[in-house]
């Protein structure tokens, strides 16, 4: 673990950019070795999951890469389990959460970025503090509320809950992003007779697409991967979402590693696609949020 940290100061210093910085061959080898090692550690666990998913059930733990590749795990998961139902449940919850979350976060971020209004500072604090509310304190009352409303086992309970997790952070990120868009654009819009909402919709939202992409990505990932509420609110095989469903393959009583790996791969693919789509905006979006907040 310590290996990648050790060489930190040196390469940092040996000239980040510019024509005069020549690395010695030794430093260059060190740089690549460190990065190759780090990349291998980063890639290996998911890769191994992928490899294992193609092994026959009886050989889940063999160290051969793939001796007899087979799709039996996949067909088993798709045909004999509730996987598709879980997938549908998750997809629905996540889609609704993302659309609502992004919209709400964008308007808030814009208002906080552009207007100085009474209540702005408390609001900023509120958004930050909400981040801190541990699920542990909210989950019991939320469970009771959902139970009273008859929302347990209903997707709406998760949608509503996930909004509270995603929106505060997203609003912060969007604020940082809107801060990087020159105010002159708003002023130009106003001169042309747009009201603040019009300015926001017609001028700023199109410019903020990278930030919106990042926010959507974050909301998607948060909702797709949330475990605690999903495990607590949803019971009954066909109502589960993916995080709770996956647990049923490998728990105290059963350990169907073949089914688990195949299901895990199928869960990871959509997330990876969304990630690939959002990732070129990630650096810009996150840094805007981080540096300007």
């Amino acid at each position: 673990m310590a290996a990648p940290t050790a060489p930190t100061p040196r390469p940092a210093a040996s000239k980040p950019r510019g024509p005069r910085g020549r690395r010695s061959p030794l430093a260059s080898v060190g740089l690549h070795l460190t990065l190759i090692l780090a990349a291998a550690i980063a890639v290996f666990p998911p890769l191994w999951l992928l490899v294992t998913s193609f092994k026959p059930k009886s050989e889940s733990f063999s160290t051969d890469v793939v001796k007899n590749p087979t799709l039996e795990n996949y067909t088993h998961v798709l045909n004999d389990t509730e996987f598709l139902a879980w997938f549908g449940n998750s997809l629905f919850v996540v889609a609704v959460t993302t659309v609502l979350g992004v919209f709400v976060a964008a308007t808030t971020g814009y208002a906080v970025s552009r207007f100085r209004f009474p209540g702005m500072r408390p609001l900023m604090w509120l958004l930050l503090i909400t981040q801190m509310f541990p699920m542990a304190i909210l989950i019991v009352p939320l469970y009771n509320i959902m139970s009273t409303l008859g929302w347990l086992n209903q997707p709406i309970s998760l949608i509503v809950t996930y909004l509270t997790i995603a929106v505060p952070f997203c609003a912060w990120m969007m604020k940082g992003f809107f801060d990087t868009i020159p105010v002159e654009i708003d002023e130009a819009g106003r001169v042309d007779g747009l009201n603040p909402f019009g300015t926001f919709w017609r001028l700023i939202v199109p410019l903020a697409k990278p930030g919106i992409a990042v926010t959507a990505f974050y909301t998607f990932i948060t909702a797709w991967a949330e475990v605690a509420y999903a495990s607590a609110f949803m019971t009954g095989e066909e109502n589960l979402t993916l995080p709770a469903g996956l647990q049923t393959f490998v728990n105290q009583y059963t350990s169907d590693w073949g089914a688990m790996t195949a299901a895990a791969v199928m869960i990871a693919v959509p997330a990876a696609l969304v990630f690939a789509w959002a990732q070129r905006h990630l650096v810009a979006g996150l840094t805007a949020g981080a540096t300007k907040s």
Binding site: P9, A13, S28, W48, Y110, V160
Partner: protein, 340 residues
């Protein structure tokens, strides 16, 4: 508490602080009767835009928070809360017991054990993640072939949902058959009970959480590094600053605003990191890897009978700890001249 900032009250309450910053100078006159109306006409669109968030947070965070605090003062558990069985509606029968839950929890060693481990867990996770993230970001911030490829590979863990990764790690950690032990076996080392020995389990959960957290750090810090102007380094080099001096006096200060934000965020996230521990070890062996959050969850959703009051008490204590942390952190940043 800040949660229930009822909006009508804000203009009045905030006017003492805000007038200098208000765009329109309308709120300068103290105690003018039309102030509220003027504030409304000036700011209504701003308020309209933030209203959804305030409503959402108020209803779904504020109300449950209030309930949670209330429950922590009662003896509610599975058997006496309001519930419906079939067609029968059974009203709640729990009582308010004041601060009894808190004294019970604080006098019990379990809470302090869990707190110590939670703090250890948070500090080591954030510390190691930050160091690795910074190291890799610095490496990636230079010009060389294959930079984009390395970056894509390094942020790959981020593309995989955390709970999926945790299951992947369970596969690797498997004591009898997992690949980690097979590799060690090849090197002639005895199998390590990764998740079955209290100490190893702690190391294992930290390793997984670091693995999960590095991509975020890396991306954020890389962005921060790229915003430091290259001329600074050139000038420093002209003046004969050593590599280490340049790192100390240009890179670190240049990263300060990014790093203070990511450290705060990842501290809070790690402190409350539920899935890694819940899915990897279920808090075990024994309760050796149980952090405060997973313990509170266990009280209300795993143990039977479900101890709602106890879980809420733990929740309130966790919240208090985090708020104290945020206040101290913010103050120390203020001293360094940060402004958020």
């Amino acid at each position: 508490m800040a949660v229930d900032t009822s909006r009508p009250a804000e203009p009045a309450g905030d006017a003492h602080r805000a007038p200098g910053r208000a765009r329109k100078p309308g709120s300068t006159a103290h105690g003018t009767p039309g102030r509220l109306r003027r504030a409304l006409s000036t700011h209504w669109y701003a308020w309209a835009m933030v209203a959804p968030v305030v409503v959402v947070i108020g209803l779904i965070v504020g109300y449950p928070l209030g309930r949670g605090v209330y429950l922590s003062l009662t003896d509610a558990d599975e058997s006496n809360v309001e519930r419906t069985i079939g067609v029968n509606h059974i009203p709640a029968t729990y009582d308010v017991v004041g601060l009894d839950n808190f004294t019970a929890v604080l006098e019990d060693g379990v809470f302090w054990d869990r707190l110590i481990w939670t703090v250890t867990w948070t500090v080591s996770c954030v510390g190691i993640t930050f160091a690795l993230g910074l190291g890799l970001a610095v490496l990636l911030n230079r010009q060389f072939k294959g930079r984009t490829l390395y970056r894509s590979l390094l942020i790959l863990p981020w593309a995989v949902p955390a709970f999926v990764s945790v299951f992947a790690w369970r596969l690797l950690y498997n004591e009898k058959n997992g690949i980690l032990n097979k590799i060690l076996d090849g090197g002639g080392i005895d199998a390590v009970p990764w998740l079955n020995d209290p100490t190893m389990a702690k190391v294992s959960v930290i390793a997984v959480n670091v693995w999960l957290g590095v991509p975020f750090m890396l991306v954020a810090l890389l962005g921060g590094l790229q915003s430091i102007p290259g001329e600074l380094y050139e000038a420093a080099e002209m003046d004969g600053a050593s590599p280490w001096q340049r790192f100390r006096h240009i890179t670190l200060p240049g990263l300060r605003s990014v790093s203070s934000t990511v450290v705060l965020l990842s501290t809070i996230w790690t402190f409350n990191m539920f899935p890694v521990i819940f899915l990897l070890t279920r808090g075990g062996p024994g309760d050796s890897t149980e952090i405060l959050v997973t313990y509170a969850y266990r009280l209300s959703f795993v143990n039977s009978p479900r101890d709602f009051a106890g879980a809420s008490t733990w929740g309130v204590l966790i919240l208090i700890i985090l708020m104290l942390f945020a206040v101290v952190y913010r103050r120390s940043l203020r001293k360094q001249g940060e402004v958020w």
